[in-house]
């Protein structure tokens, strides 16, 4: 065997046992869930906690167009943020560097720091992402849409457990996302929007050149090492969330679900799917366009792009 093949084998060896192990684990969870679901105790529990909590009377029904837009822009920018962040982390010799023009957008006391074009792209999309997020938050609270994704009673936890049992026992909840999410969804969306997102922003900000470098007391209270330790796992959370989210959206009534978020309608027409498909085309286009030859001229608008 050539050394290359040996290396590859060594590298992928865990997969040889991890894959069957994973399948067995999933099968075991499903079997256990089906078994306990039949017991009177769990039956009783699931009657008390059907898997979703009642919404306040004033909760809106359905989704407005701004939410669809915010969702699409968020998906697009999250994709680019993860990609560029991954490059910031892995690329050892960046293709180009960017130094901010000291007068754009405003003069600062410290001279601008030279950063890689990958980091410039990461930070630029971050800014757009945060703006989109601020608009989303403001509208979310102005329109009462927040009630859909913020738990308003502790019963969300037993209900989420109930939903989890329903998913695990392959007898999936038949809920109506147009009106009310199931409790597992509420928790997942709440964690993503109100915990993971602020964490990503605050840890990213700590590592960015925007952070005050000389604020000694602040920097001692919030060391950059913490930010480094948290930022990456938060990205992993987002990736995991996206995989599970997309998989469940597809598996639990793809046409209706996509209509909710992409066509703002509650039926089984094909509108949502086509708009979603178009959004995927835009995302692929953005992914392909995010290369140095296109990024350089854009970066040059606000600074100097150099090879070293």
């Amino acid at each position: 065997m050539s050394p290359k093949v040996k290396d590859a084998l060594r590298q992928y060896w865990p997969l040889v046992w991890l894959a069957p192990f994973g399948i067995i684990m999933v099968a075991a969870v499903v079997l256990i869930a089906i078994t306990i679901r039949e017991t009177p105790l769990v039956q009783d529990f699931m009657t008390t906690y059907p898997g979703h909590t009642e919404l306040p009377e004033s909760a809106p029904v359905g989704f407005p167009a701004w939410l669809g837009w915010a969702h699409f822009l968020n998906a697009l920018m999250l994709l680019l943020i993860i990609r560029s962040g991954w490059m910031v982390r892995t690329v050892q010799r960046p293709d180009a560097y960017w130094t901010r023009n000291p007068a754009i957008p405003f003069r600062t006391r410290n001279s601008p720091k030279k950063i890689s074009l990958d980091l410039w792209f990461h930070l630029s999309i971050d800014v757009l992402w945060v703006i989109n997020g601020v608009v989303f938050f403001v509208l979310l609270f102005l329109t009462g849409q927040w009630m859909r994704i913020v738990p308003t009673s502790w019963e969300v936890f037993p209900n989420a457990l109930s939903t989890a049992i329903q998913y695990a026992s392959l007898s999936w909840p038949t809920d109506n996302g147009w009106v009310n999410y199931n409790s597992l969804q509420v928790l997942a969306y709440f964690v993503t929007v109100f915990i993971a997102t602020p964490l990503a922003v605050i840890t990213g900000l700590r590592m960015s050149p925007l952070w005050p470098r000389d604020a000694d007391r602040l920097n001692k209270a919030y060391p950059i090492e913490w930010a480094r330790a948290i930022h990456f796992p938060v990205m992993l959370y987002f990736v995991l969330f996206i995989i599970v989210h997309v998989a469940l959206v597809f598996a639990t009534g793809i046409l209706r679900n996509l209509n909710h978020m992409y066509a703002m309608r509650d039926d089984e027409s094909w509108w949502g799917l086509w708009i979603f498909a178009a959004s995927v085309v835009v995302m692929i286009g953005a992914w392909l366009a995010a290369r140095p030859i296109i990024l350089r001229p854009i970066a040059q608008l606000t600074g100097k792009v150099t090879k070293n």
Binding site: Q92, R93, A96, P292, I293, R296
Partner: protein
Amino acid sequence: MRIIALIKQVPDTGGERRLDLTTGLLDRDASDKIIDEINERALEVALAYKDANKGTEVVVMTMGPEDATGTIRKALSMGADSGIHIADASLVGSDSAWSAEVLAAALQREQFDLVVAGNESTDGRGGVVPIMIAERLGLPAIGSLDSVELSDGSVRGERATESGSMTVSSALPAVISVTERAAEPRFPNFKGIMTAKKKPIGVLSLSELGLSEASGGRSVVLSTQERPARTAGKKIVDDGSAAAQLADFLAAERLI
């Protein structure tokens, strides 16, 4: 004005570079082949003048294997007008003197006001070829310029000396080489990349230059050795004698 920039295909310093241990020649397939960065800077000096002075023509010239066309295309995409590629199987493993002789012969066929080169390549690091070319052409040469000011009939610039720097100048035509401080190379843009495909590249063989063999002797690589693996450094823990140990170390390495 007509400026000829000399460029060279070199292995990317970012990767592992290898010599063929039996022939002593560069193993070109072991790493990415790129235009030497110092040549990009030399070319930038020429292109900057071209940007400011309409009617300037910038030609790039290289001597190298067939696939060195790639480095010429890169230079053309940055803005050079045409390329000259000296490609001949018998030039494999050519030393500095022989390379300079060939390049000088090719330059003699051309009209030019200035030849601009890098001060030394990242692979050979000889740094003598530009001066040898000037000698063969009987032209003034200024080596290792940190800055270049080009005007209609003369070139001037600053070069570092052991104790400071000096400003030197020469009438044109002349041969100069530049250091990495001379210019920050531009990136090719879309238009440059597209038009580079249509720009002419002339290919020359040795016989077309009227050469067949080096006029002097040829350097031959006698032996090649793999670089020994790096050994771990020595850690000095201060038990009271660290200063003396450090001093001894520096003395042993002849650094003090």
